[in-house]
Chain length 383, copies 3
């Protein structure tokens, strides 16, 4: 799995248990082919007639790397893979893939929460994966819960602050998807009280819709920053590809530069997730701001065979103490397994190349592998 010529200390460091600092619960139910195909595509539409979402880097990696975990030959055809998946049952598949990821702790974004019975809870993710599990609180999910019950703007705003604080008390970090809802090109300033009350009234007139109002999203974010500051928690930002109908450039994490500058005096860690194809921009922010961290997250399983270049591009500029491993795992346990595998293979290739050219020493390579794989996450999330 790893380059053959790595020193054993480096190999050991790469194979050591990882902290997966950002993932979601995966589906607990058996999945039809149509459902599985929908879940492995970030767009959520079926592939055109005559084609399949297995004909993607992710699909090829599932057939190559996950098939053997299910006792199949590498490169098993999609139908064979899905038939075997059904035969084993979702629980056994999830156990094999999550445990096979070699993760010691999952930090789990639990939105949409208990109402979605089809998705494993954080505790279950840990149990299936033989790992610890902690919770990340998705702030927009809290807002939705509050909006559905509040009647008056002032109550809504009070409840928002209280619920954020209450949920944060049981979590290791907060997470926002503001980039997917209104773009990362939002006005970074804390919104005025007057504008927030007006936005709250607008919100309560239609509380069922996903929140896309920039003023209310900024208020929610700054409220989360207050809570994070008080409790010493980091705030994760979904950035880059995945999960948005907005034009992609509006999710460029480089657009968080001014906001990052405002956060710096507060000492709240700001963590950039996924980032692709703007991971070089994210690496730059992680280099200039002491409180900014970065992963390539879901890019790992989705670029799969080509993830080595993406990981190496992050290594171009990002400090080694600012990079984190996250699989971005969601929907199917294959994402978590391939995320960990791609990470180890990609980082292994980068380290092998630096060792072969004499750029780094084996001791430094092993140390950096440990930092990115788990050490940095333990420090930032105080695990």
């Amino acid at each position: 799995m790893l380059p053959v010529d790595l020193p054993s200390t480096v190999r050991d460091a790469l194979l050591a248990p990882l902290v997966d600092h950002h993932c979601h619960g995966v589906r607990r139910d058996d999945l039809s082919r149509a459902r599985f195909e929908l879940l492995i595509n970030e767009g959520g539409s079926p592939a055109p007639p005559g084609t399949t979402h297995f004909d993607t880097p992710f699909g090829a990696a599932v057939r190559r790397w996950c098939a053997p975990v299910l006792d199949l030959e590498p490169h098993a055809p999609p139908a064979v893979y899905l038939s075997r998946r059904e035969e084993l049952g979702a629980a056994e598949v999830n156990r094999r893939l999550l445990a096979g990821a070699g993760v010691v702790a999952f930090l789990v974004d639990t939105a949409p929460g208990a109402e979605d019975m089809e998705v494993l809870t954080a505790t279950e993710m840990g149990r299936h994966g033989g790992a610890a599990a902690d919770e990340l609180v998705r702030i927009e999910q809290i807002e939705r819960d509050v909006a559905e019950t509040a009647q008056l703007a002032v109550d809504y705003l009070d409840a928002l602050g209280e619920e954020l604080a209450a949920r944060a008390a049981r979590a290791v970090g907060l997470k926002t998807v503001i980039g997917a809802l209104c773009g990362l090109d939002f006005d970074p300033a804390r919104p005025s009280r007057g504008s927030v009350i007006a936005a709250a009234n607008r919100r309560l007139s239609d509380p069922k819709r996903p929140l896309t109002d920039e003023v209310m999203l900024r208020h929610l974010l700054w409220s989360a920053v207050d809570v994070a500051r008080e409790r010493g928690l980091p705030v994760q930002f979904h950035t880059g590809f995945g999960g948005s109908g907005l034009d992609l450039h509006r999710t460029d994490p480089g657009r968080l530069g001014e906001f990052a500058g405002m956060l710096q005096p507060l000492g709240v860690p700001l963590i950039l997730l996924h980032c692709y194809p703007y991971h070089r921009q994210a690496a730059y922010l992680a280099g200039v701001y002491p409180h900014v961290y970065v992963d390539v997250g879901l890019t790992l399983p989705h670029t799969a065979a080509a993830s080595a270049r993406v990981v190496d591009e992050l290594l171009e500029l990002a400090p080694f103490h600012k990079q984190l491993f996250g699989s971005g795992c969601h929907s199917v346990a294959e994402t978590g397994y391939l995320g960990a595998l791609s990470f180890r293979r990609a980082l292994g290739a980068s380290l092998a190349s630096r060792l072969a050219s004499g750029e780094w020493s084996p001791a430094d390579a092993a140390r950096v592998a440990h930092m990115i794989g788990s050490g940095n996450a333990r420090r930032v999330y105080r695990l």
Copy 2:
């Protein structure tokens, strides 16, 4: 030409005839050195005194790969190459290079059309290349033809719709260069009838200028979408580098995200051409939208020796059933020859790497080579 260690099935798939789904007619006349230099540069200005446009990746590739097609040694000096080109005559050079590309069908953007006698027609491109040839209709060219003859806005708009429909009846696809004229950051909504009539009146007051009015360009585009939907044709978009005085980021295909979302329910394939340096953004759109397709087009001959990385970056995320081969060939037949050569070499390198690391099976590698080289184009264009 291809990596030496490829299995023969993969090699055969790479060497199989290609469908060049986007090219232009090349010049039929003999070219002076000054003219040739202008034609191989996307900017259209002479190189600074003491320098030459041959000192580019494209120029180096012409000397390396096209020289032997003209019976010269590899790396022939520019003067020797151009002298031999003249000696053979443009017709023979075009025949050798276009036939040497190994293309079974050319889809030809025929703008600016019959008036430019110096450029081969679609039929002639096919005859020189020993291939079939079909037409792509450039919608802004149709608009220009109509604008020059119409007197009244209402007649102009009627004629536009009629001419689009008439021309589309003989074509395999439509093409727009709206990105080069007003940027891809246009308002994606269909413009109102009132705003279109106002824009038509403005247009008729100065019909000789290139159309840059955003409202009229959007009307033209949506009219083309209507025709495409009716006839089951795809719409190609020029994106990324080449052919524009606009700031480059305004040609980022990622800016078509909202427009792509609007097109999805209509089932009209949207094809992103060239894309560089935003091909990762394009790959993402091709992954999330079932009707979006992508090529790197003219990037192939222009990045030449470095095209392997560009092609491999597209393979990071783009589904294999969504990638197309196009040379973007224009002006000189060298672009078509080098486009096909760079494509085969680049894709060959990507496949060889995946096979060597065991990521893909030889059967999958051969299948993907076939899909991108011709199969996808046959499906999308119904060839």
Copy 3:
């Protein structure tokens, strides 16, 4: 240091003395660890508790490549490196590193000028490095000097033009950091006289602050263009990463497209510095505009072990006669040494790859190495 299989002519061309067309004076004083760490980070903040700015690509390269220049083993620990640095003294360290860079001429941005006694002058940079030295005039520094002494707007504007002309008379080029001050998305047109006078009055009401007013910055830039045109000097633009609190995308050199178009008829060379992560965009501009040049500057020492890919990405599209070597050296002489080393190693790797695949001839490889290393700079700056 270079790939082992390079022909000797190519090796010689890579090892030949370089023209470093853009650098700054380095610190002349002995540096504490805290100070050194601050100076090697582009953000200017200490690393978080328990971490170090040595855990970066730059820090690893200092330990690998600069340590032996100070008689230490490669990969020396940071404390050992800094202790040896102090033992030798800043003057000896600067001499060893600057001379070791193998540079024949430094072009030095002398801002903030004589007032900063801690920084080597251009003359001293040359003396320490055993090289010639010439001056680049930072136009925003001139503005600051003038603003602090002028009383009336009209005097201020007159003095600005006079001082620009006077300083340019002793320089080989002008340089602007407008991208870091108001973004490269400024209105490219020359501002009206009326708007400039209004801006001058605003400026004189608070002359101590850094200038961020877009109108005045544009006036300053266009005044510099006038002077550059008269004297045949190029104008350098800081672009991309480094030195700005603005959102990164606003420093994308691709945003200079329209401005570049306006400059073209004037014949003033426009030189894009650093550019990362937008170097592909810069390469495109250098390809289409005959007066646009490009380097990756400070990216070389900062991406260090990974600089080969960055240099190779510039080679994808940028004409060979349009690329320049610059180290972006500042603060510590390590940047200058690593800039030159990374350049030679990176370009060497690109050339070795093209030679191994038969894409280029050895003669062309040697010629291109010479052009980028020094020839192009001699031509553009008339050295």
